[in-house]
Structures are given as C-alpha cells and as structure tokens.
Symmetry: C2
Subunit: 142 residues, 2 copies
C-alpha cells in the first residue's frame, strides 16, 4: 500500500485499488442486486478475468476495506451503500426475495440491543450479521 495507513479502512478510495479490485468493485456498484463471485466472474470475462480466485481475492480486499459486504444468506456480495459510511458496527440488510433489492440499514436501537445481549452473555463479537429476507415495499403491491 502507499504510506500512511494507520488502521486500514476509513476511506481507501477507488484510486488505491488495483485493476482487478476496481473491476470487481465497479461491477458490484453498477449492479442493482447482489452478485455471487461467479456472477462477477462471468461479467468480467471480457476484461481478462478467467479464474474464481481472481474474483475472490479482489473481494477479500474490498471486504477488508469495508467497501463491499457479503450477504451470508445468499452467498453473494454488494457494494456498500451505507449513507455516510459510518462505523459499520452492526448493519442490517433488508433483502427482497422477489426483486433482489437490498437496503443497507443502520439503527442505534439495533446496535444497542445487540450490545446489551453481548454484554449480558459476556460474548465478544468480531463480526455481526443481520439479514432480513422478505418483500420490499414495491413488491408487496404485486
């Protein structure tokens, strides 16, 4: 990396990304639904990516930087759309099973509730996953 990285994170900025990392990030950012690693690979065949590992390695880095999230219940990935890109402590995802839209939500009551739970169980969380699968506002109409 380039000189001052105190803690990784903060704002890596797309300019610091390598070619493969940029390709993967741009693909995710341009998608309107989560993509699997193999989805991404398919879309980047034309750019010279041929092996899954090229995508997984880029994803690992982007996850590290906080620019991408993994949706565990889908085995898929989305670009971070967190408004303000704050602490990212406990983000919730509302995933529409009909249209595939994903809303990224931060909520202090949720953070508080999770914090209270971990305190009372004396559990030290490293990563917390909150995913709601269901129907978005639009798709409930139909």
């Amino acid at each position: 990396m380039n000189g001052d990285h105190h803690h990784e994170h903060a704002h890596a900025a797309r300019s610091d990304l390598t070619r493969n990392q940029s390709l993967v990030f741009d693909t995710l950012e341009g998608a309107d639904a989560p993509l699997t690693a193999y989805n991404i690979l398919d879309r980047l065949n034309g750019e010279g990516l041929r092996a899954p590992l090229q995508v997984y390695r880029a994803l690992d880095k982007l996850l590290d930087l906080g620019m991408v999230h993994r949706l565990e219940s889908l085995n898929a990935f989305v670009a971070c759309r967190h408004p303000g890109c704050a602490t990212h402590e406990a983000v919730a995802f509302a995933i529409c099973d009909d249209c595939g839209s994903v809303a990224e939500i931060t909520d202090s009551s949720l953070v508080d509730a999770l914090d209270t739970i971990t305190r009372s169980a004396d559990f030290k969380p490293r990563k917390t996953t909150v995913e709601m699968r269901g129907l978005c506002s639009d798709c409930q109409a139909a």
Copy 2:
C-alpha cells in the same frame, strides 16, 4: 403425516419423525458444535445413510418443524436449544469462533428494534438471520 396437524410446528415431537429425520436430529442434538450436512452424513454412514440428499431432506423437514436452525455464516446446522421454544420470531446466535459453541438468544429489545426497522422501511420480513461471530466467555480467558 398422522391426523391432526393444524399448522405444522408447535411440537412435532420426535416420535413423529421418520428414521432418517430422527437420526439427523439426534446427531445434531448430541453435538456440541454446529455440524455441516456432510459432517452429519459422515457420522451416519454406519446407519445406512450414503448420499447427501438423505441428510438434506431430513434437515429440510426439521427446519420446517423448527427443531433445527441453519447458521448461514457457517453453512451448518444446530438443534434448537431455545429455552421454551417460543415464537422463534427473531433468534440471535452467538457463535464462538474458537470453541464452536453456539448460544441461542431471544431478546425482546432486539425484536422491537428489528420490528421498528421493518415498519419504517415498509419491509415485510419472512425470515430474519442474526448471527454474531466472536469469542465466548470461556475462550476470552485464553
């Protein structure tokens, strides 16, 4: 099934399970950490189970009955240990990455927070996943 099943769920009771379903459930209940479908298959080779599908079909049924939970972040399964086995509306799991222990937690503040989020987003959840990966009380000592 046998006569009166109003809504599935409630308490299927192990006596209603088929042989394969019982084998899989007993294996999960006896384990002290989550098991993958292939873990279960390995342990049940001696009982005549040979193909993944035999395990996955039993798991599907047990999940349906609410007797087993799938941990999305591990692609693994645990027997339900919910004290009282209440509504199961929004269960949180605290998963120790060191020893593999899993605590199943229900908390009304968490349910409230999630409920508030879905209301304000007009999102209709069908299934909610809350998984915390980290270190349990015991493992923080070491």
